[in-house]
């Protein structure tokens, strides 16, 4: 197999959270060497649900594919020196320490850039490293609230039209943050390759969430309107999630011609000539009258039947897929969108590079699985030096 696009790049990841781990995974699966530095107790994300039957974390297994685990005891001076030696050789450091931990361990851009001027350091936190809310505690729910996403979910109360805040399934904020960390790190490396100058990146989960909805802020500065155009079942007057015989489908006839195509698929029922349902804006306003007519058509049909019938007419549509159906979908199978790593099914490539493909080198490591390997091969430590570090419990 070809080397990944980021072959030759070395990354140190010292983290406890999902966001930093996902940033490391993105870099690792595209070919970078990612050294995951863990404390002697192990990364706490090893215990994140969902858990497999033997007690290990399936989420950890996904987030840490291909990484090399090194245990370093950073409460000892010798351990901190090992960490600094790694940073000296690394292209990128991704970390999510609290301000207190950073101070205690001396992990600051100011001190580390003196060891390695070309270092690109990404610091991940809920609210960033500066400003009046720096250091505020955060979780995914807190991030999606603070970043404005929870109130932008198309979940308005159908009677009052008021927004009911909702968190998207999963832990969106952490993944969005990890992704933005990886993006800015790579962009900073592009500049470093031509100037030799590194970068210090302050990545806030609130701002990464906000980035995904900030177009609504821009829209507000143009027309003064809040984004409340989509309800749970009335997606802007062009469709939405419909209940059908064996589950749900999303149909999104956003343009007038796709709506016409949908009417065509439904055989131009009598109600389609009703003035209240003619244009998208009046459909949106009269949706509660329209919904029963739609239910009549969608209700007795299966997800697959609706999906393929609509798509044959170029109507954007898909089943609301649950994981049991996802694993057996012919398109997912044909594109190998789900891969098996050590017997566990997980999502494969998020984006495809034709000549340097996404590849999982090995399964998520056991704690400290690569300590000797990394110290001898990457840092060039002698066996006796490694033995001494082991004896003093620095590693």
């Amino acid at each position: 197999m070809r080397d990944g696009a980021l072959h030759g790049l070395s990354v140190v990841e010292y983290s406890h959270g999902v966001a930093a781990s996902f940033a490391g995974k993105l870099l690792s699966d595209f070919g970078a060497l990612v050294v995951k530095v863990e404390d002697p107790r192990g990364d706490p994300s090893r215990r994140l649900p969902p858990l497999v039957t033997n007690g290990g974390s399936a989420l950890f297994a996904y987030l840490n594919t291909g990484k090399d685990s090194v245990i370093v005891n950073q409460t000892s001076a010798a351990g901190r020196k090992v960490f600094r030696d790694m940073v000296r050789r690394a292209d990128v450091l991704v970390e999510d320490l609290s301000p207190r931990q950073s101070r205690r361990l001396g992990v600051s851009y100011h001190s580390l850039a003196r060891l390695n001027r070309a270092l690109v350091m990404v610091s991940i936190s809920g609210f960033g490293r500066s400003g009046p809310r720096a250091g505020f505690k955060s979780t995914d729910l807190v991030n999606v609230a603070a970043g404005g996403l929870a109130l932008t979910m198309p979940n308005a109360d159908e009677k009052t039209g008021l927004a009911v805040p909702l968190r998207p399934g999963g832990t969106f904020s952490h993944f969005a943050t990890g992704l933005n960390a990886a993006i800015t790190a790579l962009a900073a490396l592009m500049r470093r390759n031509s100037t030799g100058r590194g970068a210090c990146i302050d990545m806030s989960e609130q701002e990464a969430v906000l980035h995904n909805i900030s177009r609504h802020v821009t829209q507000y500065t143009v027309d003064g309107k809040l984004p409340l155009w989509a309800l749970a079942r009335n997606y802007g007057g062009g469709g939405g999630i419909m209940k059908c015989k064996d589950g749900y489908v999303m149909v999104h006839a956003a343009e007038e011609y796709t709506w016409q195509a949908l009417l065509d698929v439904m055989g131009w029922p009598a109600w389609s000539k009703d003035e209240r349902f003619r244009r998208r804006d009046v459909r949106f306003a009269n949706w509660d009258k329209l919904q029963p007519h739609l239910d009549e058509w969608f209700g007795p049909r299966t997800m697959q039947e609706i999906f393929h019938t609509c798509q044959a007419k170029d109507i954007p549509c898909a089943p609301v897929t649950t994981p049991d159906r996802l694993v057996s979908d012919p398109h997912v199978i044909a594109r190998k969108a789900i891969i098996q790593v050590d017997g566990l099914a997980m999502p494969g490539a998020p984006v495809r590079l034709a000549d340097t493909p996404h590849a999982v080198r090995h399964a998520a490591p056991a704690p400290g699985q690569h300590t000797e390997d990394v110290l001898s091969r990457w840092l060039g430590y002698t066996p006796s030096r490694i033995a001494a570090l082991r004896k003093s419990h620095a590693i």
Binding site: A61, F136, G147, N180, S194, T218, P330, P350, T356
Partner: protein, 417 residues
């Protein structure tokens, strides 16, 4: 001349991160445009190619009987996803326009599109065609279902991708319909494609090799919301929707506060934070209550726990409650709407997270900085969304070196059009 490259060279400050990268941009609407926007703000020179005959639908204008007419005012969305780009026009029905396009790609690094399969071939700018004139070109495509597999011709917008990819099935309350996560979340597809583009550019900078980069919306959604698939794979169970609750944390919800549309998110993830919350609620005796003594007990008794918390939040204003709770060490945040984010959040203000751009034909609009560009730390570049063809002279005379007379002829003959 409105070149970001030229402008930045006059400063001695560190250069923008992607200085020297040039992108020919055919993207339309949201997902593709947001990808090139991000690369543009990071410092790449993005040349958005449209024509008077087929402008980006987000401009809200349409060519009707010889002139442009406003049809649907989505200009706010247009301004939001097309700032930090340059605009040029080519009427690709004319062979001379296709030749100019070929010359533009020869001096560019990336060609991006969000068309359906076959459109780029028609214009002569598909990967294999471009590779002949520019061997190290990187082509970038945003597509609904991807460019291979049985559904490759199927259409999708963000909401279709999040339904098919499994996110929507997990979004919403357990007793209600699934809720679309796709509208707010399709930005993640753009960010993922931008990541892939940067990885390809990084590889090219070391090896000189270009390649094709492609993202399919549902696969992005799967990669950033893997939990339900992982749970199914690990246990054989299909997980249920959880609303705003969590598998391990409790209390964990979004609670109504005093007044209309005023909500706060509170998430308690340790015993210490539970004790701190009890003190804030003015109910220290609850720390000894066996119903809530352990994380498992709190999960089992979430319903009564939520009632207790709500009794307190109902009397609070969310922003003040957030400060009080955070001061006590409890993870909490006001649910902010766009007005609060833009005008009231003191933290975003201190970090200078919005940039105001005087956008021709649209007005004074706010756009968010690239995450990480706190107070301009990453030297990102923000220029207003351009009017159609605003940079034709720069692109065709400046970059391609067309003489004035030749340029005028091509405009006259509706090639540059």
């Amino acid at each position: 001349m409105p070149s970001k490259v030229a402008a930045s060279r006059t400063h001695s400050k560190p250069s923008p991160l992607l200085e020297g990268v040039r992108i020919v941009d055919f993207t339309r609407r949201f997902a593709g445009s947001f990808t090139t926007l991000l690369l543009g703000a990071l410092g790449a020179e993005v040349l958005k190619v449209e024509s008077q005959l087929r402008p980006d639908p987000y401009r809200g204008v349409k060519y009707v009987e010889g002139k442009l007419e406003t049809i649907l005012p989505r200009v706010g969305m247009y301004a939001a996803v097309n700032h930090s780009k340059l605009s040029c026009t080519l009427n690709l029905n004319k062979p001379e326009a296709r030749e100019l396009l070929r010359r533009l790609t020869v001096i560019s690094d990336v060609v991006a599109d969000s068309f359906y399969t076959g459109v780029m071939e028609k214009y002569g700018v598909a990967f294999e065609q471009l590779r002949r004139v520019r061997p190290d070109i990187v082509t970038v495509t945003m597509s609904g279902f991807g460019q291979s597999g049985p559904y490759k011709q199927y259409r999708a917008y963000g909401p279709v991708g999040s339904s098919f990819g499994g996110v929507d099935a997990m979004t919403g309350f357990p007793d209600g319909y699934p809720v679309s996560a796709g509208g707010p979340l399709d930005g993640i597809c753009s960010e993922t494609l931008a990541y892939g583009t940067l990885a390809a550019l990084f590889h090219r900078s070391l090896t000189g090799e270009g390649q094709r980069v492609e993202a399919a919306m549902h696969e992005v959604q799967m990669s950033v919301a893997p939990e339900s698939l992982l749970e199914y794979a690990a246990t054989g169970r299909v997980p249920q929707r959880k609303g705003n609750r969590d598998d391990v944390m409790a209390p964990h919800s979004i609670y109504p506060c005093a007044g209309k549309d005023n909500w706060i998110a509170i998430a308690v993830n340790t015993g210490g934070k539970w004790k701190a919350l009890c003190r804030v609620l003015g109910r220290p005796e609850l720390t000894r209550d066996p119903r809530y003594a352990t994380a498992d007990a709190r999960l089992r008794n979430q319903a009564s726990l939520d009632t207790l918390v709500e009794a307190w939040t109902r009397r609070q204003v969310n922003t003040e409650a957030m400060e009080t709770l955070q001061k006590a060490g409890v993870p909490a945040a006001a649910c902010q709407n766009v007005i609060q984010l833009l005008e009231q959040d003191p933290h975003l203000k201190a970090r200078d997270m919005f940039v105001w751009l005087d956008t021709p034909g649209i007005g004074h609009v706010a756009v968010q900085r690239v995450p990480g560009d706190v107070k301009g730390a990453l030297r990102c570049v923000y220029t207003p969304a351009p009017k159609l063809g605003a940079h034709n002279e720069y692109v065709f005379k400046g970059l391609l070196g067309l003489p004035d007379a030749e340029y005028d002829r091509l405009v006259e003959q509706q090639v540059i059009y």
